[in-house]
């Protein structure tokens, strides 16, 4: 059976986030390894990543909609979203605590920002993967 529009949307989000935000984090890690600790050089890179993410999500959802008439979100979609969110939100919380620890240890702002971004990336990818598992396995 063809996946619902909501499930196709989750695939689009997963692909886009891994490609763009994952790519940004890899590029940032290289810059930091090269000794760059100022925030400024990361701003254009991050801006490009945000624009690319929006474009990719837009195109991806247009393709997903073209594959079949989009249905309205129903109670199963909402339940899957809530379960995935509640089982993975601790990852973002861990990143927030890590960022606070970095501030207390007088870490560079660039580190604090990227600890937060990395935890956002990990929690989002984990949430999307859990959603796909629940769509396939059942709730």
């Amino acid at each position: 059976m063809q996946p619902s529009f909501e499930e196709r949307s989750v695939w689009v989000q997963l692909f886009s986030v891994i490609l763009v935000l994952g790519g940004y984090l890899v590029a940032s890690a290289r810059l930091m390894r090269a000794g760059i600790t100022e925030i400024a050089p990361f701003v254009p890179l991050f801006s490009v990543a945000v624009v690319l993410l929006v474009v990719l999500l837009g195109v991806g959802h247009a393709v997903a909609a073209a594959m079949g008439k989009p249905e309205k979100t129903d109670e199963r979609d909402r339940l899957i979203g809530w379960r995935a969110e509640s089982s993975t939100s601790w990852l973002l919380a861990t990143g927030v605590v890590g960022a606070i620890a970095a501030i207390l240890l007088r870490g560079e702002p660039v580190w604090v920002a990227h600890i937060l971004l990395a935890s956002l990336f990990v929690s989002e990818v984990a949430k999307l993967v859990v959603q796909l598992v629940l769509y396939r396995r059942g709730v």
Binding site: S4, E71, G138
Partner: protein, 80 residues
């Protein structure tokens, strides 16, 4: 071993497949539209992969013109 149409986690079993057949082989799409869920969700309910809310369960029963207990039945899950 769970029966087809039985959610093994809740012990809720349904007779949607048979009722669709008795309703002139009503399609999942038509039933899903009558109930207000996606065809995939209806498929998951019918296959016992998702137990619907009470509201959706009543809407399914109403679509068949049957009482709720003619569509869904509950049996204790081992260990409960």
């Amino acid at each position: 071993m769970a029966h087809p149409g039985q959610d093994p986690s809740t012990g809720i079993r349904n007779h949607i497949r048979r009722l669709r057949f008795e309703a002139g082989e009503m399609t999942q799409q038509r039933l899903a539209e009558a109930v207000g869920v996606s065809r995939q969700t209806l498929n998951a309910i019918e296959g016992g992969k998702y137990s619907p809310s009470l509201e959706v369960a009543f809407k399914i029963a109403r679509a068949f013109g049957r009482p709720l207990e003619a569509v869904f039945e509950f049996s204790e899950v081992a260990g409960d």
